[in-house]
Amino acid sequence: MEYAPRGNTLPDRPVSVVGSTVVRAERLDAGFRDKAVWTNASFEIERGEFVAVIGPNGAGKTTLFRMLLGLQRPLAGALTVFGESPRRGNRRIGYVPQRHSVDIDTHIDCDSFVRLGVTGTRWGPGLPNRADRDAAAAALASVGAGELAHKCIGTLSGGELQRIFLAEAMVGDPEMLLLDEPLSNLDLRRSRDLVALVSGLVESHHVTTLLVAHDINPLIQRLDKVVYIANGRVATGTPAEVLTSESLTALYGVPVEVLHDSRGNLVIVGAEESLGGEHE
């Protein structure tokens, strides 16, 4: 089904700010301690762009998110978010981590869970109030999950769960969303539904979105930009620029072929052999 995020109650931002740079990386090296996972990446992400971060397992996609969130420092180079150094607790960023620690036995309803996204950093017990309730309701509505408000998190399907996580990330009305592998446990149809939903949020809320994924196909028609991380290097550009045999061959350093089928799907051949690993 198609979700219709337009006409919800979250305020739209002025369109005039679209086009300013949200993320700027210059000669950026990423890694843990002294071990680099990728080096020398320079790219910019503009306001309101929908960006896919693609690459094989262990390529350093989550590392990029951790640096943007201020949880990990760059090994070298410069990285700015909204023109500043990344810092932990930046309220302008909404985050959906890959390994979400919500347990299947968690008997808590979606409304309480999403509301924590806005109240969870406050001191004191806090009395229930209209502003917080409205914020949670608006976030749930923005992902088309209003009817799930009183359901327990533990009883949701994979697609519903991802919508609730997305609502939790949206609840502070962020300017940038970082979504780590939201599609990893969804089948192709649910993946496309979620991508349509995220794409709708990007348009209606002008929220700059980075989405980590293994497979480009559910995303490709809605993307503005691709950040392709592989083999310790990063290639950035429009899908048409990055997802070509020439560009990926240069990235991987071995011959890689990008094949197109009649419905616009891509198959990337040769990459998995070069890394000796899985590449979906």
Binding site: N57, Y95, F113, R122, T155, S157
Partner: protein
């Protein structure tokens, strides 16, 4: 002297409350049940049941040491559980997952407690009290101390309530939003240490689960909001203590109150699980598929 139960709760309570030791038991037991029920919710949420169990054993060693030195056991309990709690909190963000390290320390602490007790002459009743609780032996001064410690725990819990809830329920997002995870973990473990130290008087280190874990485990199964779960958890704990004390009093045999308290919470737990299992069997719910399990399980890289 024997007492017959009238089955009129007002009359029965009046009969029990004519004795100071029963009044003290009800007062201390109620206060402790409320604290244990509330802290227990976070124990269940953070999956720290093993850490709770271990802190009880660490407390045993401290209490035995205090008995040996001729000090009030509760101070030994507090000193040891708070040190242990600090160590566990610094070990990792979720001490509950450090079961190998905790288990190693737990065994050593039990051994140490045993040594202290063997060094102290006439240890049997003291050891028994620490291990299984001595709810009918709580003094009026003990009730006052319990109340003071409980007020500290409850005020501190209220102060960090929403932050602790967020950090316990959604660790990665809470960390990204800037919550100090290590500090919150430390605060929680210290609150747990104090709660365990005072609860030991009622239920003992070995039966601490009956007030700390079982009521909260029941509560999360019958509620959907954190506040609802906390209220139910505290109510179940209080009910267990009241029913346990009443049965121990009216049964007119020297059976320990701890046994009846543990039994009450256990019977409620089994009933709730049975009813839930029957309901699932008779009315299968839709909408839950294998994706949920996959998406909710931690795994992969």
């Amino acid at each position: 002297m024997t007492f017959d139960i009238s089955w009129n709760p007002v009359t029965d309570l009046r009969v029990m409350w004519q004795f100071e030791f029963m009044r003290n038991a009800f007062e201390a037991g109620t206060i402790i049940a409320i604290v244990a029920g509330i802290i227990g919710y976070f124990v269940v949420l953070r999956r720290s049941a093993f850490a709770t169990h271990a802190l009880g054993h660490v407390g045993f060693s401290g209490a035995a040491g205090a008995v040996f030195l001729g000090v009030n056991p509760v101070f030994g309990l507090l000193a040891f559980t708070m040190s242990g709690a600090t160590g566990m909190a610094l070990l990792g963000r979720r001490a509950a997952t450090r079961d190998i390290e905790i288990g190693t320390v737990l065994a050593f602490m039990l051994g140490l407690g045993l040594l202290f007790l063997s060094l102290y002459k006439g240890f049997a009743t003291e050891a028994y009290g620490i291990l299984f609780g001595e709810v009918l032996g709580i003094s009026t001064a003990g009730v006052v101390f319990t109340l003071e410690a409980s007020v500290v725990v409850l005020v501190a819990t209220l102060a960090v309530y929403r932050r602790l809830l967020f950090a316990s329920l959604d660790e990665e997002v809470a960390e990204a939003k800037g919550l100090p995870m290590l500090a919150l973990g430390l605060v929680f473990m210290l609150l747990l240490a104090v709660a365990i130290s005072i609860a030991v008087q009622v239920i003992g280190v070995l039966l601490i689960f009956a007030l700390m874990v079982t009521p909260a485990a029941i509560a999360v199964r019958v509620t959907r909001s954190p506040l609802g779960a906390i209220v139910v958890s505290a109510l179940v704990a209080v009910f267990s203590v009241w029913l346990g004390l009443s049965v121990a009093f009216f049964i007119n045999k020297p059976y320990p109150a701890s046994f009846f308290i543990v039994s009450t919470s256990f019977v409620i737990y089994v009933t709730v699980r049975t009813v839930a299992a029957l309901r699932d069997w008779l009315l299968p719910r839709g909408g839950r598929d294998e994706h949920t399990r996959a998406a909710a399980d931690p795994g992969g890289t």
